[in-house]
């Protein structure tokens, strides 16, 4: 069993309450951090190698050190709990079952960054979790971990939960800031980055829920100890939310040295695929990252076992690899249709586009319509090329990365499953009642080294 740093206590009965959480060693990191200098805390986080768990994987310590500190101007820490990337439901678990861990991490981060008012922006649909967090915040406050002069350190900190109202785009950090200011969630043009000009034009750090929770073991055990877990630049543990066609969907805290194969088939994790079906494809890091056929998922193009970490999942670039992304792991068995799955994702991105840039606003709609056409047996061969062309023209031509996030799944589906698209076009009737199936997608492949 891999070492758990975040969820080791999640099963303890009553851990949601302050009393039990504290008895189990909770809030020690706050006691320790308040006696450290803020520069030393940032240094520990740098040493830990922690990378942002929201999807982009940016080194957290470095992000913190970029925060501008102009005299007399407030700074803010905002926790990104918008969690809306299809396949991703890990932050929900953490907040729902062990809410004090997030609050503890946020107090330490608030102190390190000098934020006296910190906000948790949570997706609006997680309404009951808002209540859980507010209760936990009130408990922390009653016990002197929030409010004025925390533990006599002279540091003041208040914490608030802000509910969104149904908009994936508000997970993008500048859209989130706009939303927190009471506006539409339209991403801002960067630069300026939030570290310079964020919430109410003040320097702001936006971090994911899991990132902030990870600060607790980093402070408790030290950055160097944390960095010993994992491999290369994938240090520490990672929460993976696994779903789709697997026996044990749910949240797993992994040490990033295990293989993708072990993750899917071992009983410790996903427990294999139901009803003895075979693996066809997988989207390993949330809906935005490239889908891979079974063969490229389990082994890289170089023929190495693929591992569940940042480097290995992206090995081969977009030609033969994918990404760790947000840790939303979506498994498709042999009976699933890649065209239909891609269509639902295109529909998602079309629905969620904020509409500011025309390539994204229009392009996502076109992709949805063409994919629907192909899925419904009304597609033509040239539609496949048109789809390719549209996604290529969206990528890199928009204000925020939602455009890329919409383009990549379509590109990868065509790149690896083109025959399945063509089969739909060639079999307009059959494709309405049957699926293309597994075919060659799990066969060992020989990719030219130049690919």
């Amino acid at each position: 069993m891999a070492k758990k740093l975040l969820l080791d206590k999640a099963d303890v009965s009553g851990i949601r309450t302050y009393e039990v959480y504290r008895r189990e060693g909770g809030y020690r990191s706050v006691e320790k951090a308040l006696k450290m200098s803020t520069a030393d805390i940032v240094e520990e986080v740098k040493k830990s190698g922690l990378r942002g768990r929201g999807g982009a994987g940016f080194p957290t310590g470095m992000k913190w050190s970029f925060l501008a500190k102009p005299e007399g101007i407030a700074r803010y820490l905002v926790c990104n709990a918008d969690e809306s990337e299809p396949g991703t439901f890990k932050d929900r678990y953490l907040m729902e079952f062990i809410p004090h861990l997030l609050i503890e991490g946020m107090i330490v981060a608030s102190f390190a960054l000098g934020s006296n008012n910190s906000y948790i922006y949570i997706r609006g649909e997680y309404a009951w979790i808002t209540d859980i967090l507010e209760t936990a915040i009130a408990e922390a406050r009653q016990n002197g971990f929030l409010g004025k002069n925390i533990l006599g350190s002279g540091f003041d900190c208040e914490m608030y939960v802000q509910r969104g109202a149904g908009a994936y785009i508000c997970g993008e950090e500048t859209a989130l800031i706009e939303s927190l200011e009471g506006k539409r969630g339209n991403p801002r043009i960067k630069p300026p980055f939030p570290a310079i000009k964020g919430l109410w034009d003040c320097p702001t750090v936006v971090n994911n829920v899991e990132t902030l929770a990870a600060v607790v073991p980093i402070i408790n055990e030290g950055g160097e100890e944390y960095a010993k877990i994992g491999v290369g630049k994938s240090t520490g543990t990672k929460l993976i939310s696994a779903c789709g066609n697997i026996n044990k969907p749910g949240i797993f805290e992994i040490d990033m040295t295990i293989s993708v194969e072990e993750f899917i088939f071992s009983d410790e994790y996903c427990g294999g695929i139901p009803n003895g079906k075979r693996l066809k494809a997988c989207i390993p890091g949330g809906s935005s990252v490239p889908i891979l056929p079974a063969n490229l998922l389990l082994t890289t193009a170089k023929g190495e076992k693929r591992l569940m970490n940042y480097e290995s999942l992206s090995d081969g670039g977009f030609a033969t690899g994918s990404m760790m992304g947000s840790g939303g792991f979506i498994v498709l068995d042999e009976d699933q249709c890649v065209v239909r799955n891609t269509m639902t994702l295109a529909r998602f991105y079309h629905h969620e586009s904020c509409g500011q840039c025309s390539p994204c606003r229009e392009g996502t709609g076109w992709m949805e319509r063409i994919l629907k056409k192909i899925e419904n047996g009304k597609g033509e061969m040239k539609d496949i090329d048109l789809l390719w062309d549209i996604q290529r023209k969206i990528e890199g031509n928009t204000i925020c990365p939602l455009g890329d996030a919409a383009a990549w799944p379509v590109a990868a589906a065509i790149r690896h499953f083109r025959d399945e698209f063509e089969w739909h076009v060639l079999n307009p009737e059959k494709c309405l009642t049957e699926n293309f199936g597994l075919r060659h997608y799990a066969d060992p492949i020989h990719v030219p080294v130049t690919a």
Binding site: R163, G182, N245, P249, I283, F348
Partner: protein
């Protein structure tokens, strides 16, 4: 409270007004517009499950902002209803991971059971069916949101039970 006739003014209760002031205090002086999203949630819960224009105008007054600033926000976010909805709103997720686990079949089943199309409300005003995009419950698919709760691992039998539960609740409240 009768919004349609416009006879009575839209007005939060004293208790809700206290809540409004408490929310506004979360932000720095002069940044009360930040309270807009939470207060729209509060208003939707309070005034019949949707946001009619007089309600939005009232909120603009409370926050000392222009009505247009409220409209543009209310129309941006999918959780705010700009039209009346049934007493029980079934919001069924249809995105990839839920689709892989049979959400299409669940949506079809609800349509047939309630005899309505997606987006419609039953004649008795009890149920509205909406399809929504990923709600962060992908591992517990198929699923729907019902009020403040998630209903997960849906089956036809579970849908039957939920409909029954709502009908019973409505009967008790009447």
């Amino acid at each position: 409270m009768n919004l349609e006739s416009g006879i009575m003014n839209v007005q939060f209760s004293k208790e809700k007004l206290n809540k409004v002031s408490e929310i506004i205090k979360r932000y720095p002086q002069g940044k009360q517009k930040s309270a807009l999203l939470p207060i729209l949630h509060l208003a939707q819960d309070e005034f019949g499950g949707w946001l009619d224009t007089p309600v939005m105008d009232y909120i603009a007054t409370l926050l000392q902002i222009e009505p247009i600033e409220v409209y543009e926000v209310a129309s941006f976010y999918s959780m705010y209803n700009l039209k009346p909805v049934g007493k029980y709103l079934f919001e069924v997720c249809q995105t990839g991971p839920c689709m892989l686990n049979g959400s299409d079949q669940i949506i079809d089943y609800i349509k047939r059971k309630l005899n309505i199309a997606v987006g419609d409300t039953t004649a008795d005003g009890l149920f509205t069916l909406k399809t929504v995009e990923c709600l962060g419950a992908c591992g517990y698919a198929p699923m729907m949101q019902l009020g403040k709760t998630y209903r997960e691992h849906l089956t036809k039998e579970k849908v039957d039970a939920i409909v029954e539960e709502c009908r019973n609740k409505a009967a008790i409240n009447n």
